[in-house]
């Protein structure tokens, strides 16, 4: 299992290859950074929050979202095609009987377009190795105490899909607008390590 790469041999190799590509004119100076910036631009938890709020107020949208997330998020002007190719999105929804939480045990796969860059803990070996084995304890460490009879479903982003969780809508929010509801949704809520 990989950890922090900053001083790893692979990081040195990548820098070396980048230098060679630039020297031979195959890559413009700073092009990789620019491409990464473009990919990250617009990526924010506010996007995921908008999706969650829409799912709360519009049951038909929620159904479409759970069945075909890539199609449904187009309805709120979002897409998963900001990278080299469109990534498949899988959205799951928490209920009063089931709680979902997302991890990438093999590296750090994450829906950047919808959540922005991932938090450091999401990439840590501790989170990645422990949440699949003992999610209830890990969630408790995040401050999320689930009732003992709530089933926990962990999703390992081990291949090409990216995942997002729709948290449960908080009680007492019947009078709020969709925009106000979106303001309640947190990044951790969309990963599944917090309630909203």
């Amino acid at each position: 299992m990989s950890g922090d790469h900053a001083s790893a041999a692979i990081a040195g190799q990548v820098r070396h290859v980048e230098t060679l590509l630039e020297r031979r004119g195959l890559l413009a100076d700073g092009e990789i950074d620019r491409r990464i910036d473009e990919f990250l631009a617009g990526g924010s938890p506010a996007n995921g929050a908008r999706i969650a709020a829409r799912a709360w107020v519009d049951p038909a949208f929620r159904e479409r979202l759970l069945a075909d997330a890539n199609g449904a998020i187009g309805e709120v002007g979002l897409s998963m095609s900001g990278g080299i190719q469109e990534q498949r999105l899988k959205v799951v929804a928490n209920s009063d009987t089931e709680h979902h939480v997302v991890v990438c045990t093999l590296c750090s796969c994450y829906p950047i377009a919808l959540l922005g860059p991932s938090p450091t803990w999401y990439k840590s070996e501790a989170y990645r190795s422990r949440v699949v084995r003992d999610p209830r304890a890990v969630l408790a460490e995040f401050g999320l105490q689930l009732p003992p009879d709530t089933r926990i479903a962990v999703w390992d982003a081990s291949a090409e899909s990216r995942y997002m969780v729709i948290p449960r809508r908080p009680a007492g929010t019947a009078g709020l607008s969709e925009v106000e509801l979106a303001g309640l949704v947190t990044r951790n809520g969309l990963i599944g390590t917090a309630a909203v």
Binding site: K90, T105, V132, R136, S158, A159
Partner: protein, 103 residues
Amino acid sequence: MADRFGPGDPVRTRTLDPAGHTRLPRYARGAVGEVVESAGRHPLADDRARGRSTPPQAVYHVRFAAAELFGTGDHSVTVELWEDYLEAAAGRDPVQDGSDHER
């Protein structure tokens, strides 16, 4: 080529321990789970990492009981796995266990 597995199919992950890159997590090797749904078709990551051209193949969300993976726990873990990582596992007999395979 049609997908080999569909929702509800019991599958067993292989116990391969390849020398190079793979995206079959070690904790999920040799375990029996159930296909939840298709996750599209993608070239096998193991081949791509080795620079081999490889046609897209079916990928599935496969759900495992934690106890099957770790010997303990009451949660489930759903792992996304390429078809090459999977073989058919013996299914429960729907008549014998009386369930209607609610899937």
